[in-house]
């Protein structure tokens, strides 16, 4: 028997998944997402409104007809008629869902992190029925020190630099995970494809400078 090599898209999805899995298993250690394959023809929008294409590709690698999604820009949820929403559903077959019920969300900018409080956190019996959020940030720095992280996957504690976040982001994130095992799992992805996993088990505190 001869094994068929994976298609470009399937190969990209498997590489991306391994990075996502590793980032989530080791919060604070940045993963490097592979560049999206050809064919990510983002819709014609003003450049300012285009989301981070690494985050878009990572989200699409997990979406299919069995999942639902929502997305927000500038702190506001985008409607089902938004050209980018149509672009997503056309390529993934995912359902567009109200944020409180969506399985996956894309937050186009750090300002939209305030929307994390709207998302589903699962139930005690089924904590896995919670949202996974992809948060686009400008820059992630493994050697920086904005946040100090501790919890499973981290030996002791680690610091990570995320410059340019709004002041209230940390309190919004910690509020979503105040009631373990309920919570929202977050991937922060920057414009170079660096990926920071923040599972609900990660305790985050501001580094005092």
């Amino acid at each position: 028997m001869i094994a068929a090599p994976p298609t470009t898209q399937a190969y990209f999805n498997s590489r991306t998944f391994r990075i996502l899995l590793d980032s989530l298993a080791r919060p604070g250690t940045l993963g490097r997402l592979p560049p999206p394959p050809q064919g990510y023809d983002l819709p014609l929008l003003p450049a300012m409104q285009l989301p981070n294409h690494y985050a878009v590709a990572a989200l699409l690698s997990l979406l299919d007809q069995g999942t639902s999604m929502a997305h927000a820009a500038g702190g506001l949820w985008l409607s089902a008629e938004h050209p980018l929403t149509r672009w997503f559903t056309l390529r993934s077959n995912a359902q567009v869902e109200t944020p409180a019920y969506a399985d996956y969300v894309l937050l186009h900018d750090p300002a939209s992190a305030a929307c994390l409080g709207d998302l589903k956190r699962g139930s005690l019996t089924f904590p896995e029925q919670s949202c996974t959020a992809f948060l686009c940030v400008a820059q992630l720095d493994e050697h920086g020190a904005t946040w100090r992280l501790a919890g499973p996957g981290i030996a002791g504690s680690r610091t990570v630099g995320i410059p340019g976040l709004p002041a209230n982001v940390l309190s919004v994130i910690m509020a979503t995970r105040s009631d373990f095992p309920l919570g929202v799992d977050i991937f922060c992805i920057d414009v170079t494809g660096a990926c920071l996993g923040l599972p609900r088990t990660t305790r985050i505190e501001e580094v005092c400078s």
Binding site: A3, A4, L21, A25, R26, D64, G66, P152, P199
Partner: protein
């Protein structure tokens, strides 16, 4: 003609939708250490109960760059290991190895390799029995609610009763542990010897149960504490004076087997369960006697 037909299989046998579903479950499993995530266990050319849970995880996460090791009871040449390895390599074409240090992905039944695993490796375990509460609550729905409420009192009573009846924590394998102080998890099917090696490890452990359709995980650097009492602490199978007859190792998990002497009698001998580790020790001993 034969070849054309077989090329119609997707890379890794499973279709991309199935892989995505398993991948989504794996991400949630890592985010909630020790919690059992239901997943849609697919039919495979191997019967359920023969490692299909681990196999589905392996097929969903494998990439062409991976180097694969498959073991059964620590042995690379076990029937189950040979068949699973053949299926995975024929549908993916990945390289395989018996060396635990050279593998990037290790699928295992019943053992964690003796050599310490690294951060860049993933260990996939085939799970026969998922729920430690099965012993005290056979109803799956009620057991799920008990996990949700961290209601583990009856399990402690079970442990206490086993001490009262047998004078010891009489659990050979599938020893129950608390993961990250929250979820009770079955370490099925590894022996007690390997249980402490889950605690604060460097490696990511993924558990797949195909028959029971559950996935769970222990991320690296996560506390995994066996259930025990102050006066009846958890113990591994270690016995003073134990020794492998092949390589002479004293600090490994040993299995015993009967060696007949041809005259109708014979004797029991013990050797390393991890055959690749044992072979490595033998080879280095032959080079440097």
């Amino acid at each position: 003609m034969q070849q054309t037909n077989e090329q119609l299989y997707n890379f890794g046998l499973l279709d991309e939708d199935a892989k995505r579903e398993i991948r989504r479950s794996l991400l949630k499993a890592v985010a909630i250490p020790g919690h059992q995530i239901p997943f849609a266990s697919r039919d495979l050319p191997i019967a359920r109960g023969w490692g299909t849970g681990g196999l589905q995880i392996t097929l969903a996460i494998i990439t062409p760059e991976d180097c694969l090791k498959v073991i059964d009871q620590g042995d690379d040449a076990g029937v189950n290991a040979v068949n699973l390895r053949r299926l995975i390599t024929q549908t993916t074409g990945v390289a395989t190895t018996v060396d635990s240090c050279a593998a990037s992905l290790i699928q295992t039944r019943h053992r964690i390799p003796e050599e310490p695993l690294r951060a860049d490796q993933i260990l996939v375990l085939q799970v026969p029995m998922v729920d430690p509460l099965r012993w005290v609550e056979p109803n799956l729905e009620r057991a799920t609610v008990m996990h949700g409420e961290a209601d583990y009192g009856r399990m402690w009573v079970y442990m206490y009763e086993s001490v009262v009846r047998a004078g010891d924590l009489r659990i050979a394998s599938q020893y129950p542990v608390m993961v990250n102080g929250r979820y009770m998890m079955d370490t099925t099917p590894i022996p007690r010897w390997d249980v402490p090696r889950l605690d604060m490890a460097e490696t990511l452990f993924l558990f797949g149960a195909g028959r029971e359709k559950r996935i769970y995980a222990v991320p690296p650097h996560t506390p995994v504490v066996p259930l025990q009492f102050e006066d009846y602490p958890f113990r591994t199978e270690y016995q003073a004076g134990q020794r492998c007859v092949r390589c002479g190792a004293e600090q490994t998990f040993l299995t015993s087997h009967f060696v007949p002497d041809g005259a109708g009698a014979g004797q029991w001998v013990t050797s390393c369960s991890d055959s690749s580790f044992c072979d490595k020790r033998l080879a280095s001993a032959e080079v440097q006697p």
